[in-house]
Symmetry: C2
Subunit: 281 residues, 2 copies
């Protein structure tokens, strides 16, 4: 019997890093890369993230027992549905999109009963650099992957995806797609807007007078604008709520500053420091 293979649809930072991590663990593993651009697929093959590749999704999944869709968020549902249709009837399909509610709903609507083999997923890992050139085999080490199975998702599919992520050093947790989107709005989507607004609010003439603080605080603003537009518009309601909560806290700082209330300012700064220190560096 032929050894089954893994197919990674989308060989950007996440897809290529996963390929590297899987092949570091099992050098014999066949990893098929699927993408739109041959140049990126060739790059992924050159660094050892995939063993072969195709730009035709339907041709890339028929031998796969597991398909990971790490395409840009706006294409994930479509690619997941295509994968469910073209892969073997017992293949499991998962994704790595940063929003989950719309993706899970779109897959369920379009794939019908096939969606039972689809497990929504989101590895909380990444960076502002994109593409296979930024890939690292340890990208998922000690990171958390959120899985968002639904009521009809097959148990063995969930377990298969959990074992995939654990095999590359990540921890996994399960929650509803709605809970995921609410939490990530606060921990990822809102912070991205804040960083982008901060970078945009700084005059270009003042950039020479920035230090490592500004550089750290705005780092994610270098992320791809269209990709982040897709994420934010697919989680607009929760992102708005998180943004309003941030604005309320910021208004407290503003008022302490306006009243030159040093003890209150210290207390507010301490509240931020406590949360930041709890995370570690």
């Amino acid at each position: 019997m032929q050894r089954k293979s893994v197919t990674i649809v989308g060989v950007g930072l996440i897809g290529a890093s996963l390929g590297l991590a899987l092949r570091r663990r099992d050098a014999q593993l066949e990893v098929v890369g699927v993408g739109r651009r041959a140049s990126r697929l060739r790059e992924a093959e050159a660094i050892g993230a995939v063993t072969r590749w195709t730009t035709d999704l339907a041709a890339g999944v028929p031998e796969a027992d597991l398909v990971i869709v790490s395409s840009p968020v706006g294409l994930v549902a479509e690619h997941a549905v295509e994968s469910l249709r073209a892969a073997p009837p017992d293949a499991v399909v998962t994704d790595a999109g940063s929003v989950k509610r719309t993706i899970v709903a779109d897959v369920r609507r379009a794939a019908g009963p096939l969606a039972r083999r689809f497990v929504g997923g989101h590895p909380i890992a990444g960076g502002e650099r994109n593409g296979p050139g930024a890939a690292r085999p340890d990208l998922f080490t000690d990171r958390l992957v959120v899985l968002t199975p639904g009521a009809t998702t097959e148990a063995r599919a969930i377990e298969r995806v959990e074992s995939l992520w654990r095999s590359v050093g990540a921890a996994t947790t399960r929650m509803s797609a709605a809970a995921h989107d609410k939490i990530l709005a606060a921990t990822s989507h809102m912070p991205h807007v804040v960083a982008a607004a901060l970078a945009a609010a700084t005059r270009a003439d003042d950039l020479p007078f920035t230090g490592s603080g500004w550089a750290d605080t705005t780092r994610i603003a270098a992320g791809d604008a269209e990709l982040w537009t897709e994420i934010l518009t697919r989680n607009g309601e929760h992102a708005l709520k998180a943004l309003d909560k941030f604005a309320k806290v910021l208004a407290n700082f503003r008022s302490a500053l306006e009243q030159n209330d040093a003890p209150r300012l210290t207390r507010l700064l301490e509240a931020g420091k406590t949360h930041r220190d709890a995370l570690g560096s």
Copy 2:
């Protein structure tokens, strides 16, 4: 004739890093450390940032031809004035405080004609970690130091301080204390408030679901709360204006998100990305 020495008042991150940098360049240089706590001074001596130390400022400067005051912002003016009085009559005194208008004015008021030998300065370098343990000899390499001499500052004093910072790899620029405070409000003080508010606005329960983006964006929120209160309250007016400009840009993002206006959201994200990319990593 006895070789003259440099005295560093305050051996935190900035002071100890400067000591390390000066002594890496000239291993024979005598660097006297002055501070309030013997334990930190001993630590600074152990890592080679100072060659001897005292907790008595008046005893630490009589042989110095150059005194650098890198105490917490709230103590800088007082320590600079003490140094001007106790150092030799031709000694030059400078500081490393993050705000300049109040420090320069306080020194001028208290020291009178002695203030002609005082040059306000601010090396735009640092980090959220503090103390001599965080010191690095290359902290100032390729960084910018802003000097804020006044109309009566001696030209040779300015040149002496410029040559100090250039000798440790930094570039220097001159501007008024008011111009410095306005620019740094936008590039450092406002970003600190934003990072602290972001960290404070995140629920503790959600921290496990943060990734490298949140970690970068909030890193400076780990800074010392009392030290930052001193900085912010000494530059409140400019910090408020910078905060209001940020809030206006953030409101634009909010409205694009509320209207689900993807093209506008992309344009706003692009504006942030353009500024961030101009800086490099």
